[in-house]
Point group: C2
Chain length 278, copies 2
């Protein structure tokens, strides 16, 4: 018997990616969503929330390296970092590779995600038990509101906006993030696919731009995300992430990120530029 996972990509569902499954490791309804971790033939174990692939053993490195190292190698001395969402722990793992970081808080709304990822995706969640990491199970919107002028970097590592994560995209949340950052703080969020969802990307980018003095978008190639090409938006109070002096970036053993990629990823194809230009 062949088992296949069918992922209806995006809301409109005229395309779907399918993965041959070797084994379902866990499947449960949590308080917030339908959670599954399955072992697939091509991508190994993967976390699936409400039917959408979130992260996989084989390609998680792209997303987690890029969402972490771009802001952390832009800020000259990041000490305190907050991840909103990201219950798999992959961003925390990359953040804690930066020796300047004294504390990394993970604020994940769904405790089951953290628990099951610790159990079934240890390669990704391995740093969640690091003494510098604090795991807080709760609402990111509330958490950010209650912590003013505290974080050097805030990473919004959320699911798609058509989900419980809707409130993490744009407007008021970005204002609260601005206030939760220190005076030279940097914010980054995964901001979906400009190819399939230009209107979503446009709105989110424009919301960030209305609040942060420096707002830039970069792209990364992630095989398991729709279209394979994902946008990230950086909002910064002071430092321009696309203008870092890459000769000063220390060596780090990575699989996607390099100092040269740090520059090149901000060079956008024409249609992506068009999506975010006024």
């Amino acid at each position: 018997m062949d088992l296949w996972l069918k992922e209806m990509q995006l809301e409109d569902a005229g395309i779907a990616m399918t993965y041959k499954v070797k084994e379902t490791l866990v499947r449960k309804k949590t308080q917030f969503q339908d959670l599954a971790i399955v072992d697939t033939e091509v991508f190994g174990r993967m976390l699936v929330l409400d039917g959408i692939v979130q992260t996989t053993i084989k390609d998680e490195f792209v997303y987690h390296e890029m969402i972490s190292h771009i802001p952390l190698f832009t800020h000259p001395n990041p000490k305190k970092v907050l991840v909103v969402g990201g219950g798999d722990g992959g961003a925390i793992r990359e953040i804690l590779r930066h020796p300047s970081v004294e504390k990394a808080v993970l604020c994940e709304i769904d405790g089951d995600v953290v628990e099951e990822c610790k159990k079934y995706l240890p390669e990704i969640s391995c740093a969640l038990d690091d003494p510098r990491c604090e795991v807080f199970i709760g609402d990111g919107i509330k958490y950010v509101k209650e912590h003013k002028n505290e974080f050097d970097v805030i990473i919004v590592d959320s699911t798609d906006p058509f989900s419980i994560a809707e409130g993490l995209f744009g407007g008021n949340f970005y204002k609260d993030i601005y206030e939760s950052l220190t005076e030279d703080g940097i914010f980054i969020a995964q901001t979906e696919t400009p190819f399939y969802l230009p209107e979503t990307v446009k709105k989110v980018f424009s919301d960030a731009k209305a609040i942060f003095p420096v707002t830039k978008m970069f792209m990364a190639a992630i095989p398991t995300y729709p279209g394979g090409y994902w946008s990230f938006t950086v909002g910064s109070k002071k430092y321009d992430p696309s203008q870092v002096d890459i000769t000063k970036i220390p060596e780090m053993d990575t699989k996607y990120y390099t100092p040269e990629i740090h520059k090149a990823c901000f060079v956008l194809p024409k249609y992506v530029q068009d999506v975010i230009s006024e």
Copy 2:
């Protein structure tokens, strides 16, 4: 009734992309392959050969712009260009936008591809009737052998290597291409996905490198190709495509290519560098 096209991606078939189909416009067994042009909900009309998506109305611009403008804006004065494969005509359309080009030959083995694309994909095939274009139906390997020292640019726009196009990847064919180029000629080929097929990419790049004084790889983000992130290999007798003076590139109305992308696309993620490094 919902109709879906299921594309078994790559040979191993542990992943498959599926597209909701509105209408099948043509389906036939040609002398060489199973040809279909279907109209899909998300990507519009698409050409499918032996079950593999080749090009679609919605995302063809990425592939055709990048395989054409990178070599043609690298060569200072390209007059005569050969496309091996590329029966949809998309590369020819982009090539003929360069005013220096006097003649563009399309050498496609399967006349049915040309015929059906002219009929059902006019947005892509529109330049095949241009007086500067010569369409030759025949074997590209033989054609290249018989035309020495003739082309400024040769573009290998083929299907995957596990198909009738197998002979267009590597070794002896690249030697014949070298001889078919003028003394400062440039060759480019689509060279598959380093994420899924690292061994294929490694071999093809190393074969090119053994023959051409300058060999460089670049990447482009193509939603309908497996992994969404595709490699192209450039072999050049004289000009380095990654070192062009982009201030001299004239303006052109494009949807993916820009002079800045021309530089940035050669900056490879670490795992891609690793695939092609000795």
